[in-house]
């Protein structure tokens, strides 16, 4: 008995919604409504230029910090990739191995599937390198006879389980007759791991902070805009607007704010990276010059813009969704 009148109400409600014309007309009207909301929200942003620019700058700062950190991680990874070559094994050959045998031995090593690279260092090269890098260079010149052995440096293949491969190779080399002593540059590995650990934790924390920041700023901006326009919302509700109708322009506003902030952030990030590029590469030149600053590629730029626009929409949706329920005409 109770269900019936409710049903009738619903039908009547729907009937008032249908404002003349057939299904196609309604669809067209609906499309018109969306297009209208999209462009009128853009027009509103443009007409309140000062306000929009301020909001966009605030958001752009957040987004550019987040993507700046992303670029930092990317460059760190590249750096870590370079440093991985330090994950090497040095084989000091016995004094009685001749130069020719040593060369042959190193050629053979290259055929080992676990080995990526082999570097042969003759006694003379070893001494030279030693002079250059040890800090005792000049002292070495005073030596009567070259005391250094032949060294073969082996870089293991990159694999999913680097440490195990390196360890296996190391155990294997220990038993090779030509080798006087095998040494793993373990300290480098440990240092690298520590650096990566610190960077990872720091970047995680900061990215989290910034992600929350961007969401908060968008949501806050939309919240304040909604608060500014609560009169409008109340009036629209009073003349029969549904929640969907009222939400739409805010969602589009969020979209535009996010999108333009993304564009601004791209400029900020690119500018910053360009300013930092020169000193960083100069610094890298002092080591081995293989490090180059990487920027955002095309796909990442696209992702950044999409994510910004999405964050803008999500932020505004959250606020609109929760506040609209509270905004009753009274």
């Amino acid at each position: 008995m109770r269900k019936r009148p409710r049903h009738q109400q619903k039908q009547e409600g729907r009937q008032t919604r249908i404002s003349g014309g057939g299904f196609i007309d309604r669809l067209k009207a609906y499309r018109d409504l969306h297009a209208h909301a999209l462009f009128s929200s853009l027009g509103r942003l443009i007409s309140s230029r000062f306000a929009s620019v301020m909001t966009i700058v605030v958001l752009a700062i957040g987004i550019s910090l987040a993507s700046g950190f992303y670029i930092l991680v990317k460059n760190l990874q590249q750096l870590a990739g370079n440093l991985e070559s330090s994950n090497q094994i040095s084989l000091f050959l016995k004094d009685d191995v001749s130069d020719i045998n040593a060369k042959k031995f190193s050629e053979n090593l290259k055929k080992n599937p676990d080995v990526q690279e082999v570097k042969f260092i003759s006694k003379e090269q070893a001494l030279k390198e030693f002079e250059t890098y040890s800090g005792f260079g000049s002292a070495v010149k005073a030596l009567e006879k070259n005391p250094l052995p032949i060294v073969v440096q082996v870089i293991p293949k990159n694999s999913f389980d680097d440490e195990a491969v390196t360890q296996n190779l190391f155990e294997h080399f220990k038993l090779v007759p030509e080798v006087d002593l095998a040494q793993m540059d373990m300290q480098w590995v440990k240092r690298l791991q520590s650096i990566v650990e610190v960077a990872r934790r720091g970047v995680q924390l900061l990215s989290g902070l910034l992600g929350i920041g961007v969401l908060f700023i968008t949501a806050n901006t939309i919240r304040l805009e909604l608060h500014n326009r609560r009169e409008e919302v109340v009036i629209a509700k009073l003349v029969g607007a549904t929640n969907g109708f009222i939400q739409r322009p805010f969602l589009y506003s969020g979209f535009w704010l996010g999108f333009f902030s993304g564009v601004a952030a791209w400029f900020i990030v690119t500018f910053t990276a360009l300013v930092l590029k020169q000193p960083i590469e100069k610094l890298s030149g002092l080591y081995d010059g293989s490090f180059h600053v990487v920027f955002l590629d095309f796909f990442e730029t696209f992702a950044m813009l999409s994510i910004s626009a999405l964050l803008g929409m999500v932020g505004s949706w959250i606020v609109v969704h929760f506040q609209l329920r509270q905004l009753k005409p009274e």
């Binding site: 009148p5 409710r6 009738q8 109400q9 619903k10 009547e12 409600g13 729907r14 008032t16 919604r17 404002s19 003349g20 014309g21 007309d25 309604r26 067209k28 009207a29 609906y30 018109d32 409504l33 209208h36 009169e231 409008e232 109340v234 009036i235 629209a236 509700k237 009073l238 003349v239 029969g240 607007a241 549904t242 109708f245 009753k328 005409p329 009274e330």
Partner: protein
């Protein structure tokens, strides 16, 4: 069309502002609602527009029990009422045209239809030519008439007017009342809250009188 059945309404802080109200408006009937300042006229309108819910009794509008409809249905109920507010409730940052067009835009009318109807409504209240102005740049009476135009633009089956002539000169008040009469003659139910007793008494319609929340004459 509209039926109040022993309706009471209470604001938590001040107690009952409407007590045990019963009356009925037939489709196409026009009536006035009077009473001293603070008698409860606007509160009664809020009940009809579901801006507030009543604490006791039943209100039936166009066959629907307003106590039982859900929040999602409220917009569709409101589209079948033309509401004129005591404080106009105009959008300050939209032109007169956009203000009057709002109910049509919400209901999803096409552009040409909107333009035609808005012009017709503005013409009725004597504001044709002011479409492009903003409410802030209108006189009090002109704003009130924009509110009236917005209420009648989508030809609702019922018009609720809260003090529609408070800021109009006697001449214009008479014209607006005549406009409401025209609507009534084509079958629209009209309820007008007004203090203008001299005007009301000249027109021969039913008068509901509120006194401290009670219906004392009908």
């Amino acid at each position: 069309m509209l039926q109040f059945d022993k309706v009471s309404m209470r604001y938590p802080e001040v107690g009952d502002v409407l007590k045990n109200i019963s009356f009925q408006l037939h489709p196409g009937e026009m009536s006035f609602l009077t009473g001293h300042s603070g008698a409860g006229k606007s509160s009664l309108f809020k009940l009809i527009a579901v801006m507030e819910r009543c604490t006791r009794g039943e209100i039936v509008f166009a066959g629907q029990n307003l106590n039982k409809i859900s929040d999602r249905q409220i917009p569709y109920i409101r589209r079948s009422m033309g509401l004129i507010f005591q404080d106009y409730k105009l959008l300050q940052d939209r032109t007169v045209f956009d203000n009057v067009a709002l109910p049509l835009v919400i209901a999803g009318y096409r552009h040409g239809e909107i333009s035609r109807r808005v012009r017709a409504a503005l013409d009725k209240v004597g504001l044709l030519g002011k479409e492009k102005k903003y409410p802030m740049t209108l006189s009090g009476g002109e704003q009130q008439r924009v509110g009236i135009a917005r209420a009648v633009v989508n030809k609702p089956p019922m018009i609720l007017a809260d003090e529609p002539t408070g800021n109009l000169d006697p001449e214009l008040s008479k014209e607006i009342m005549h406009l409401f009469e025209q609507f009534q003659q084509v079958g629209v139910t009209v309820l007008i809250a007004s203090h203008d007793i001299s005007l009301i008494s000249k027109m021969n319609y039913r008068v509901l009188t509120l006194d401290h929340g009670q219906l004392v004459a009908s």
